[in-house]
Structure formats: C-alpha cells, structure tokens
Amino acid sequence: MAAKSIISRPVYGTLSPQPGKHHLFIADAEGALAIAEMAERAPPGFFDDAEIVFIPGPDGNHIAALDALKPAQFHQAPSFASLLPRLRQTLANAHMGLRLYLSGTEGLIGQAMQVALEAGIDHTSIQTEHRGSLARRMQCVHCKGITENVTTQPATCAHCGLLLLVRDHYSRRIAAFQGVCINAEDRSEIPPMEEIFR
C-alpha cells in the first residue's frame, strides 16, 4: 500500500462477519485467503446463507479451501467480465439484509463495487480486503479509455498511446485511477518508466 496517499484513494480493511440475512462474497486469486481467514472468526453456520463467487488466478489455487466452507452457493468464473451478467442479476434481485464482501486485487474490488453502486448499495456498507497484485485500472482522462493491470509509472494508454502519470486520484463510479499526460507541456521529455504497482 502507498505510504503517502490522498483521500480519494480507496482504503481497504479486513473482512469481518457482519449481521445480515445473506452474505455475498466476491473474490479473485489470493482474495480467497481473506475469506478463509475470516471464516475462522465467523459464527457457526455463517456460510449457510452465503454465496461465494471466485475468479481463480492463473495457478488455480484456493478453490478447495473455499469449497470447504460449504457456502450455500459456490460459483467459479473465468474472468470478471464473464461474471457481470450473473452479478447484476443477483444484486438487482437482492433484498434488505444482503451483505457484500469483496477481496482480492484492486481491480476486482473496484469493479465489483462499481456494479454494487449501480444497484444502489452504499459503498460504506461494503466490506473490502486487498490481497495480491497492486496493479491498477487506469482511465485516460484524455481519450477516456481504460487500461487494465497497469504496473508502471508512467504508463502508456492502451487506447490513444499518450504517456500518462498514474495518479492516486480514484473514481468509484469509473472504478479506476486517473491517468494524465505526463509530458503534455513538452512531448520530448520522456521520464523513465518504473515498475511500481506490483
């Protein structure tokens, strides 16, 4: 996590069991460990009313650990995009008493929260825990294109090709950090590209 940050930069916590009728967990890769650790502190029967949606990382780890929690529903998705239709329907049909828990990469937490906000869920009611990669989703302020998994500072926009400063300024609505042209005043200045969001 960044040492010095700004207020719009998301702050993540540690998942903890919340009072509620239903519990929806969305996690990717090492986010599974956050759920497993929370389960050790959860009251008996907590997962009887829980749904876990998991996007495994490339190594396919942690599936058995989540299955062992015996949630009412356990769904694996190959990518966040493939999960979207199901997630939208779940949230559209949700009743009062649903609690949402997001864990894993910033990109996963941000995009799942974006869908939850669109469904009218207050962001402060959502439990989050960051695990794994610090790679960022970045929106280019110039062309509005989103570049996924940005690990460098500065970073090249995958859409318009401008060299962008990846700011800490973050929009929950867009689920992305802001990228602003780093050498707009003199395009011949090319700062070195460093890998800093790993």
Binding site: I7, H142, K144, R167, S171, Q178, V180, E185, D186
Partner: protein, 346 residues
C-alpha cells in the same frame, strides 16, 4: 443602453480582451502582498456599482463569446455536462435561480414572465424566446441544467447534500482550471478535493464543508480562487491538457504581457429551495498581464505574491515552467513601495 458584447475568441487566434472599464472591475484576488490558503468565505451580497458584485450573477461584455465557446466545447465533448438521475429537480432549481437573477440584473437583455407553471424566457443577446412548462423536461430542448447553463457565464456544479457531506452529482464544466467533472462526478467533498496539496492538513476542507452544509436559502456565500493561464483560454480541462499544455513552454520575456493571464474564479454557493442541493457557480475572469499592470498597485502586489509563492502551490497551479520569466518581468514594475490594503486598484 445595456452591455456592448464583444466579438472575440478564447481559442485559435485568441482575440479576447478586456475594455478599460472591465480592467478596473477585475476581481483582483489578493488583499495583501502574500497568498496562502484560507477558508476565505463571506456572504455573497451585492457590492459597489460598476464592480463584478453589482449583481449576484454577473453578466459582462464577454457573455456572448463565452456562450459560443461553451457550445464548441460541448460539441467536441458532451461529457462536460452531466447530471446523475436524481438531480433533475435541482436542475429546475438552478434554472429558476439563473433566470430570476439575470432578468433582475439585466432587464434590457433578459425577461422572465410566469403564468403558473407556464414560463416565457427571453434572452436577447443569444436570440432566444422560449415558452415552457416549469418542471416538465419535455418542454425544453435540453435538460433544465444544460438549458440554462448554456446561457449563463461560468461553470456550475450542483451538489447533493446527504450523510453530512456534499456530493458532486451534476455539473456544466467547460471553463475549468484543470479538473474533470467526468472523473469527479459522484464524489463527495473530500474526495473531489483530494489532489489539492497542503489544504487537507490545515483542516481547510473540514471547516469549509461545515460552513457549506449550513448555507441557508436566500443567504448565498462566496470566495475567490485563482490560478494563471497561458493565452486567454477558457477550456483548460485535463481532457485537453495535451493540447493546451505546450502553451506553457511558449512564454518568453517578450510575450509575457500578452500571453500570461491571471485567472480568477468567483465561486458562490447557493441553497436550492426544492432539492435542498447547493449550486456552486464558478465564474472565471481572465486578464492579461499587460492589462493588469495598468493598475500599478496590482503590478507590485502580484510580483510579490508570485515571487514568494511556496513551490508546492506554484507546482499545483501549473506555474513552475514560466514563473521565473514572469517574476523577472513583473519585478521591473515593482519599485518596492508599499501597497494599500484591500483588493481594489488605487
């Protein structure tokens, strides 16, 4: 009589200028020879005749040209005007406020007549004469906020008040000093101010929010903010930063007076009656150095302010690249003599 509206541009050939009367009424933002952040909010009450505060919503000689520039920006980028779905009522509140204020201050240019919900709005400078039903969006060519802010100088942010915070949930933003409505829409007061250096640590935003959430209907407030812009360009958006950024590298000792502009925002804050939102007009005034230094007090004071500005602030305001050239040019107009207190010219 009325205002003589100038034909001028804020892009390409940059023909924008202030008349001598408009130079005298420029809202110079420094009341002393130094600048630091403060919660400099005061009641927005009518000021002296001939000042920008003569009317609470100011219309000046740049009105028609600014509205033309706004239309050009919106044609290129419609995302500069956005309103989240729950903000339509606040848009009607704003339409009422701006029509009332402009008709009150400038009856020779604007007329509003009301017969129940049936309203007729005449805007003579822009050649508009529309009759519509207040509250019925289908009777206007745009949503209410977009309709009236295409006819009003300055940017407009409409803030929803809930959970003890203010949320940037609608706006018309085409003359901004380098912030993006499209990115910031939906954020709360602390989030959209997040990139501002130093002020959070000073508790500025906590105090400002407390003040703003307590603003009462009929008792608007105001403050001034400032930055500098190269060329009289209204659209200094981050969206177009890669297009206007290179201007900052074009300042030379020979062209400082013509190219470098002080950009002052007169920000005001108004409670809206039906929605309980707050509208935050950000009215931008530009003046080139050659015009500003016709007032010797302003020349001396601006020299001292820019010279002594903390680097972090200068950097945030985007002055770093041309500050030495500007300070050197202004220093020749500063004989070291005292400046009188207050904003106005001597």
């Amino acid at each position: 009589m009325g205002i003589t509206f100038r034909k001028e541009t804020f892009r390409d050939d940059f023909t924008f200028k202030n008349s001598p009367e408009h130079i005298r009424r420029f809202p110079f933002p420094f009341h002393e020879d130094a600048y630091m952040y403060a919660v400099n909010i005061e009641p927005h009450v009518v000021g002296p005749k001939g000042s920008v505060l003569e009317n609470l919503i100011d219309v000046d000689e740049h009105y028609v040209a600014e509205m033309q520039d706004r239309a050009l920006v919106l044609a290129e980028d419609p995302l500069r005007c956005q309103s989240l779905p729950h903000m339509t009522l606040a848009g009607w509140d704003l339409l009422e406020l701006l029509m009332e204020q402009q008709a009150l201050g400038y009856p020779e240019h604007f007329t509003l007549t009301r017969d129940g919900d049936r309203w007729r709005w005449i805007n003579r400078p822009l050649g508009i004469d529309d009759t519509f039903t207040f509250g019925d969006t289908s009777t206007l060519p745009y949503g209410p906020m977009e309709y009236i802010t295409r006819q009003s100088q300055g940017d407009f942010c409409i803030l929803d008040q809930r959970d003890g915070n203010l949320w940037m949930d609608a706006g018309m933003v085409t003359t901004q000093a380098d912030w993006s409505l499209d990115f910031d829409i939906g954020m709360n007061f602390f989030e959209w101010h997040a990139p501002v250096p130093l002020a959070h640590e000073k508790g500025i935003f906590v105090r400002a929010l407390k003040f703003l959430t307590n603003i009462q209907q009929g008792k608007p407030a105001r403050r001034l903010n400032w930055t500098m812009t190269i060329n009289p360009r209204l659209d200094t958006s981050p969206e177009n930063y890669h297009k206007w950024g290179p201007d900052r590298a074009t300042v030379t000792p020979e062209n400082v007076g013509d190219k470098v502009h002080l950009r002052v925002e007169l920000q005001s804050f108004w409670r809206l009656p039906r929605s309980n939102g707050i509208v935050f007009p950000i009215r931008c005034y530009l003046i080139k150095m050659d015009e500003l230094v016709t007032q010797p007090k302003w020349a001396r004071r601006l020299h001292r302010v820019i010279r002594d500005l903390p680097d972090e602030l200068a950097n945030y305001k985007g002055l770093t690249r041309f500050r030495p050239t500007l300070v050197e040019w202004l220093s020749k107009l500063d004989d070291g003599s005292a400046t009188s207190p207050g904003f106005g010219p001597d």
